[in-house]
């Protein structure tokens, strides 16, 4: 309720920086990972666009259940950790070779995030083959102002990056037949 005038602003900046290590706000976080696959973009896209195929190429996924059709499609992934991710499909764009989906549940055992919306795109690579990019916009698990260390922004980005990297490596292995 009190106004801080200019000299105090400096103090407030210092205070908020010292707090930043443990208390980020509800700021969406980015993950952006790429991999190059030695296969034609159309062949890679055929696998990526199939929303239920992730069970056959993501090494963390032990079980998958796909339900519904069209924009009502969801997939329930059971991970090695025992955690569950429920994704709902938003868009499949054959022209842009892009698939978009988002998380519908929260499960700390699966990933320390409260939500994500992801996009995977396939593009021709410069030297032949395909570039696959997997991007994520996500929020940490505890969106309050003082999250515990395993539920803060860093934990959310770290775990999501590992999940996405493992997925891209698995996709490459599957498509390249290795």
């Amino acid at each position: 309720m009190a106004i801080k005038l200019r000299p105090l602003l400096v103090i407030s900046a210092v205070l908020s920086f010292s707090g930043a290590a443990w208390a980020h706000g509800p700021t969406p976080q980015k993950v952006d990972e790429k991999i190059t696959i030695s296969a034609a973009p159309a062949d890679v896209w055929k696998v990526v666009k199939d929303f239920g195929s992730i069970g056959s190429w993501h090494p963390w996924v032990t079980k998958i259940k796909v339900e519904g059709t069209g924009s009502e499609t969801t997939r329930t992934l059971t991970l090695k950790s025992g955690g569950t991710l429920i994704d709902s499909l938003d868009a499949v764009d054959d022209k842009a070779m892009e698939i978009d989906y988002r998380l519908q549940n929260e499960d700390l055992k699966a990933l320390p995030v409260s939500s994500y919306s992801d996009a995977i795109t396939v593009q021709p690579a410069a030297g032949g083959g395909s570039d696959v990019e997997w991007i994520s916009r996500l929020y940490r698990f505890d969106t309050g102002n003082e999250p515990p260390a395993d539920q803060n922004d860093e934990a959310a980005v770290k775990a999501s990056t590992e999940y996405i990297k493992a997925g891209l490596a698995g996709l490459k292995a599957k498509v390249e037949g290795k």
Partner: protein, 321 residues
């Protein structure tokens, strides 16, 4: 002498006409708030270049502009504060300590701020000069963006987790209605005359068009996937919606709600704003760290302006004095 009179009359008529044109559409800046870098960028809309970057300490999520006091007010959810920015000096003047997790913010012409607290499900009415809280009101879960009518008599709040829009009488401090909309309403835009409100429902991928007199939904036009930003042109002819998935802006006819065009922009577009003259719109591409400039005559993207990291909200506002 006789010949001169018409010329003088003509010249003064031209001068009056020019004044008229300028009064109708004064030059505007576009202001872009980047959350990750904590910067309010000022875009000169003649050159479409960033003319200034105003540092805001912290991670500002949303802002409003009071054209009368020529200030911007940016919420800092981490710090429970609102940064007050002087648009002429292009500097932060002070911070208002409001506590909690301030997110959505709107202002009226009487110098009041309306601020939503995301985790406390509360709206506060704050005096923009003193920072004093005049009143608080509990609304639905996770108030996202909110918008006040120009005179501040009515306030509309998108309660994201309750899937409704709260309509508040700010004089009686009473919730007049909680209108069920689609799933996860986030962004709102009031038509320039205030006759209707456009609500972007993120998870149902549509708009709820609310008649602000009857408080009924008159239409629910479809958008692209994950609509996160919405704006109405100053002449009330078109509604612009940013679709986070697919990275597009949909342009709808504001009378029929039929889609006119879909323009590819950057990745994860969020805030969208239109200049009062209706010629150009600006879209914050959150993932790409760019602002797309759209030409609304041809419905094409004419430029991408690189900007500080995490742009989420854009507003048209006054040029500096």
């Amino acid at each position: 002498m006789r010949a001169r009179l018409p010329v003088a009359a003509l010249l003064s008529a031209i001068a009056i006409a020019l004044q008229g044109v300028m009064a109708m559409a004064p030059l505007q800046n576009i202001y872009v708030l980047s959350q990750d870098d904590g910067i309010l960028s000022v875009i000169d809309t003649t050159s479409d270049e960033i003319a200034a970057k105003i540092a805001i300490p912290g991670k500002p999520a949303a802002f409003t502009i009071d054209a009368k006091s020529r200030k911007a007010f940016a919420t800092l959810p981490d710090d429970g504060e609102i940064a007050v920015v002087d648009l002429d000096r292009r500097a932060v003047l002070s911070t208002l300590k409001v506590g909690g997790q301030p997110f959505g913010i709107s202002s009226d012409t009487a110098g009041r701020l309306f601020v939503g607290d995301w985790s406390a499900n509360r709206i506060s009415v704050i005096d923009e000069k003193t920072g004093a809280t005049e009143a608080t009101l509990i609304v639905g879960r996770a108030p996202a963006h909110l918008v006040a009518t120009r005179d501040g008599s009515r306030l509309f709040v998108a309660d994201r987790e309750s899937n409704n829009v709260a309509v508040i009488d700010t004089k009686k401090l009473k919730i007049l209605a909680e209108i069920p909309v689609g799933r996860a309403p986030f962004a709102l835009a009031l038509s320039p005359g205030g006759k209707y409100l456009a609500v972007a429902n993120v998870q149902t991928a549509n708009l709820s068009i609310v008649d602000t007199t009857s408080l009924r939904i008159v239409s629910t036009p479809a958008t692209g996937a994950m609509p996160y930003g919405v704006a109405v042109t100053h002449d009330n002819s078109e509604i612009l919606v940013s679709n986070q998935h697919g990275g597009t802006v949909s342009i709808l006819d504001a009378r029929t709600y039929a889609p006119h065009a879909q323009i590819k922009v950057g990745r994860y577009p969020e805030g969208v704003a239109v200049l009062n003259d209706g010629r150009k719109a600006y879209v914050a591409n959150w993932f790409s760290n760019t602002v797309s400039v759209l030409d609304l005559a041809g419905n094409v993207e004419i430029k991408k302006i690189k900007c500080p990291s995490g742009p989420r909200m854009v507003l048209a506002g006054p040029v500096e004095h």
